[in-house]
Each structure stands twice: as C-alpha cells, then as structure tokens.
C-alpha cells in the first residue's frame, strides 16, 4: 500500500514537473520586414510601434507564444528582397508582416511567393502587389480607390477644374496613384494641365514648380513621401505658387509639418486612419492604449500594422494551425474583421474599407471626412 502511494506521489510529481514543459510550446515565428532606417524610416518606426502594441496585447496564439523577428529593409528594394529571403530561409518564419511602401513590398512579394510564405503588407496600396499572387495580402485599400477619393475631393471640395500632377518616378506607389487620380479626375470633367516627374532623393524642385506656375492650375496633386513632399510645399510657396495642394497617404507623418512648417498649412490628403475618424470599438481601445504607451497620436502605419498582426493571428486561430497551407485560405476569406482602421473584408487579397481625408491646420492633422467605398 505504502509503495503504491509512493508511486502515485512520484507520478503526480512527475506530471507537475512535466506540465510547464508541455505549456512552453515552441513559439510561432512571425517576420516583420520594415523600413526601420533609410528615407522611409518615419513610416517604419511608427509601424514598429503599432506592432509592439499588438504583440503586447496578444502575445500568444494557439497556445503558443508569438516570437517577432524584425528585419530592416533600409527603405531599399534590394534590401527588402534580401531580408525577406533571410527571414524565410534562416529564421523560418511562418509569415511576414510588411514591408510598408509599395516599392519595397513589390520587391519582397516574389520571394515570399516562391517560398509559399504568406506576406501581409500593412500599407502598400499599389494594386499590382496582390495581382496573380497566392501569398501576398494587404490590410489597406488600393490606389484605384484612393485616387478616386482624391479626385472626388479635388472636384467637389476644392472646386478644381484643372490640376498639375507631380510624380515620383522612382516609386511604384506614386506612379500608380497619380495614374488613377488622373483617370478619375478626367472622368469627373477635370483637366490635367501638366505632369512633371521627379525622383526620390531630389531636393531641388524649382524648375518643375516654375513649369507648373506657368500653367496656373487650380490645384497641385502631389502624393509624395514626406522627404520630398515637405520640400516641394516649401519651394512652391517660396516661388509664389498659392494653389491648394492635395496629397496621398504618404503625407501622414509628423515630419511633413516639422519640415514643411507654414508651407504645408492647408495641404489635404487621403489616408487610412485618424484617431478622430475611428469607427470601431477596437479602434477606440487602440487609440487609448497607443496614446498611453507612446504619448502621441497613432498614424496609419502604426494602426495598419496593428491590424495586419491581428488579421494574421485570427487566420491561424481559425485554421488551428500555423502552417501556411492551412491558414492561408482563412486569411484570404477574412470577412468583417473589426480592425482598428475600420471593419475590413479582404476581396482578392485587398482590403475594402473607408478612406479618411485629413488637412493640415494650425500645425496639426485635422480630420475632414470619412469616405466609404
């Protein structure tokens, strides 16, 4: 009898000792491919803040901890493709969140596709990213929609009949969105009087702006990244161009106002998210938590990265697996997901959801309107 009791006790003890080991399951690795440094660092660093918050709120999935591996793509297409390779081959990640910009995402997507590793870009709006791909996803709307919203705003709110367009020919995002804007603007009866190119990294825009000045358009459409956008606005005002400026989602970074100063006052742009345009409960909770943690307002990059993380984990939970083959169908069928950037449904791997229009007012981004698709 005594011996039996001893055996029982021992086996109980063994079970107790073994239990935590069973609980400490192998972590699920998620790769995060961001513009941590380089010209797009302001977007990438906000994206990382959103990610950090998302992981703090939801550190486990399927009873396993989520381990995040961050890779810096240095805002460079070649680095983006190399880093995607490294995350897949070396780190063996289950999925990749990022990159943010369309150009870097377009560079990383073929690598993910070839390795059958799903990639979710939080912020890349160029429609080509997901076309004909099984493993490329995004949680933001695409530029045909954003260009349309911009054109509508230009015609209805800014009363524009003629527009000048400045296009960054080194960025897939700018080339894409300016084409969609141009088409939508023409369909609404507007006329594009001049389209002048520039390249990322340019700092002198005087000649282009003088050419625009000579055409005297009603508005200037310049969906630039802020490095160039802020300088374009300043030089435009210095050269005496007084037209309203309209931008795209890349305008949403503090640097626009810090560098652009007085010159960006009145600049409006289409984007994904603003804390004053929140439509979901999870969005309100996100804004509160973000402000508490970082003492600043969340932007589109942080909110969308937050959503991308949760959309991925939801798909894994529904599939009860972290195997790409198992959860990718659930990812593709994401429906009515209550994201912080609005209720989102993925159609053909792209999110369908409302856009937000913001305007720079008194050195701050002011909420103007939400536009439903």
């Amino acid at each position: 009898m005594k011996r039996l009791a001893l055996v029982l006790c021992l086996s109980l003890l063994a079970a107790l000792v073994a239990a935590p080991q069973a609980g400490a399951a192998e972590p699920i690795k998620v790769g995060v491919l961001m513009e941590v440094t380089g010209p797009s660092a302001m977007y990438g660093q906000n994206g990382l803040k959103g990610l950090e918050l998302a992981q703090a709120n939801r550190p486990t999935v399927l009873g396993r901890p989520v381990s995040v591996v961050v890779a810096d793509n240095k805002s460079d297409k070649v680095e983006a493709s190399n880093a995607a390779n490294r995350l897949i081959q070396h780190e063996k990640v289950a999925a990749i969140l990022g990159p943010l910009t369309s150009g870097n995402s377009l560079a990383a997507a073929p690598v993910c596709e070839a390795a059958s590793v799903p990639m979710i870009s939080p912020w890349a709006t160029n429609p080509m990213l997901t076309q004909g791909k099984q493993y490329a996803f995004r949680v933001c709307f695409i530029d045909p929609f954003q260009g349309q919203v911009g054109a509508n705003f230009a015609v209805k709110n800014l009363k524009a009949k003629t527009a000048a367009i400045m296009v960054d020919i080194a960025q897939d995002y700018c080339v894409g969105i300016t084409n969609f804007f141009e088409k939508a603007f023409k369909d609404l009866g507007g006329q594009v009087v001049i389209k002048t190119p520039y390249s990322s990294g340019d700092q002198e825009f005087g000649p282009q702006l003088m050419a625009i000045k000579a055409k005297n358009p009603d508005i200037i459409y310049v969906p630039a990244y802020v490095n160039e956008g802020a300088l374009i606005a300043r030089q435009a005002r210095e050269l005496g161009l007084k037209q309203p400026m309209l931008g795209g989602d890349a305008s949403q970074a503090d640097e626009l106002i810090k560098i652009g100063g007085q010159a960006v006052e009145g600049l409006s742009f289409t984007t994904h998210f603003d804390e004053n345009g929140v439509t979901t409960q999870s969005g309100q909770a996100f804004v509160k938590a973000y402000r508490a943690k970082y003492n600043e307002a969340p932007d589109s990059c942080s909110a969308l990265t937050y959503d991308a993380y949760n959309v991925l984990l939801d798909a894994m939970e529904k599939a009860k697996s972290a195997e790409a083959k198992a959860f990718v169908p659930y990812l593709a069928n994401t429906k009515d997901f209550p994201g912080v950037t609005g209720v989102l449904t993925l159609v053909a791997h792209d999110a369908v959801k409302p856009a937000v229009i913001l305007q720079v007012k008194d050195g701050k981004f002011a909420f103007v309107a939400t536009v439903n698709p």
Binding site: I194, T196, P197, G201, D202, P207, M210, A211, A214
Partner: protein, 295 residues
C-alpha cells in the same frame, strides 16, 4: 519661358551651383595635396549639419555660433579621420587609401543612423536667410543672395592662403612631391592635417548652407551632395579650387536648365551629372582648368 521665368531659373541655378561649389572646394583641396579622393567628404558634411542642429536646437545658440562651433568640431573630426584612417596608409598604394575612404564613409553613415536615428530632422533657416524679395514676378530668397557671396569670399580667402602664405606654399610644394618636401625639412603631416581641417570645416559650412536651403537633415543626406561635389571637382579639374567653383556652377546650372527646358526629363537630372563625369573622364580627364600632369 518668358524673361522673368528664365531669370528665376538662373537664380536657382546660381544658388544650387554655389552650394555644389562650396562643397567641392573641400573635396578638391584634399585631392590636390594627397591625390586621395576623400569619399567620406559628404558624410563629414552630414556630421557638420547635425552638430549645427544640436548647437541651434538643443543648446539654443544663434545660427552663426552654431555654424562656427560646427565648423571647428568638424575640422577636428577631419583631422582625426586623417590621423586614424589615412595617415597609416600614406605610403601604401593609392587604391588602399581610396578603399579606406569608402570605409570611413560607411562608418560615418551607420554611426549617424545609430546616434541620430533614421528619421529626418527639421533644420531651421535663420531669419537673415529667410527674407523673400519680390520684384515683379521674380522671387528671391535672401539665402540665394548670400550663398554666392559666401562662396566667392571663401574662394578669395583660399586663393590668398594658397598663393600668398608660407602654409600655402608648403601645400603647393606638397602637391608636387611629398617625399622631396619631407626631405626639405617640412612637417608634411602638419600641412596635411591643416588641409583636412580646412576641407572638413568647409564641408560643414557647405552642408549647413545646403540644409538651410533644403531644411531637413538625415544620416544619408551627404551621399548625393558629396557625389555631385566630386563630379563638380572633376569637371573643373580636380585639385584646382577655382576649377571646383567653376565645375560646381556648371553642374548647378546644367541640372536646373535641363529640367527647366525639358520638365519631362527631370528624372534624368542625376544621370546628367554622371554622364558629364564620364564624358570628362573620357575626353578631358584633367577638367576645365586642370593641367596635364607630367607622367
């Protein structure tokens, strides 16, 4: 394009050209003496800008004090780079020093990323350079008036130093034959150190005026101005300070006019600089003012 517009473009070209010239002077000085293409020049410029930014924003110094302080500290940095990276290789093949220069450049860029962070910082334009003069349709920023004047003053000062002082004489002698000058009992290391100090201080000044015109700074901001200044120096005849100024002006005007006349070619602006570089290297490697070196 009407007259006022043409004049506006010419003013733009003069400003950009003077900025290239200011940066190219430092480039060409170091080359003239050591036959070393100091690829870290653009990154020294970046450090100079950050030092001025810290001076002006963090310590609230007036702009001229921030400028002077930054130039002094950047001069020190130039001397340290020479001592640490280039002096040990003085007698090594020239290619080793060139590769070291590229290494220094990457080191400064990445150090900048770690210390200052990747996000750009806004650079204030002091009031004196921020006046907007309006004459008819023409708009001129006071910065555009001052920069050519400053470049001209710097050029005059350097010419005086090179041709009228003992130090300048030593520099000229050094550029002909380092070993012989050493044998004459001249402390060549001191002369080289002074050259690096001057070149780096001018890089800082050039960078700060650059940042006043394009008011944002980031750790990679020096790369393109550095390359353009190198092109300008080669165009003018590398090693020749007057040539560097001429080359800078030519490049600045060329870039502005290319886009002014053919706005759709704006994407090729940087290509223009490098096509010019290749053309000159092929057909007139000694540049506009350079002399053919006796081999």
């Amino acid at each position: 394009m009407d007259g006022a517009q043409l004049l506006q473009q010419i003013i733009n070209g003069l400003t950009l050209g003077s900025l290239y010239a200011l940066i190219a002077i430092g480039y060409t000085m170091v080359y003239g003496i050591l036959r070393l293409i100091n690829f870290a020049h653009g990154d020294v410029l970046m450090v100079g800008c950050y030092l001025a930014w810290f001076g002006a924003v963090q310590f609230g110094l007036p702009w001229w004090a921030a400028l002077m302080g930054s130039m002094a500290l950047t001069a020190l940095l130039g001397v340290l780079i020479d001592q640490g990276a280039y002096r040990p290789l003085r007698s090594a093949p020239r290619i080793s020093a060139l590769i070291t220069a590229i290494g220094v450049s990457f080191f400064l860029e990445n150090l900048g990323l770690v210390v200052f962070g990747g996000r750009p910082k806004a650079f204030e334009r002091p009031e004196i350079f921020n006046q907007l003069y309006q004459i008819g349709d023409l708009r001129v920023l006071s910065h555009s008036v001052w920069v050519p004047i400053i470049t001209a003053l710097v050029l005059a000062g350097l010419l005086w130093m090179i041709y009228r002082t003992r130090l300048g004489m030593a520099m000229r002698a050094l550029s002909r034959d380092l070993v012989t000058v050493q044998l004459m009992g001249i402390d060549t290391n001191r002369v080289v150190a002074v050259t690096f100090a001057l070149g780096s201080a001018l890089a800082a000044a050039g960078g700060i005026f650059w940042a006043m015109k394009y008011p944002q700074i980031n750790p990679l901001m020096g790369v393109l101005p550095g390359l353009k200044a190198f092109v300008a120096a080669v165009l003018g005849g590398i090693g020749n300070v007057v040539g560097a100024v001429l080359g800078g002006l030519m490049l600045g005007f060329g870039e502005i006019m290319l886009v002014a006349l053919w706005p759709e070619l704006a994407g090729y602006r940087d290509a223009l600089a490098f096509v010019l570089l290749i053309g000159f290297l092929l057909f007139r490697p000694s540049g506009i003012l350079g002399q053919e070196l006796p081999s």
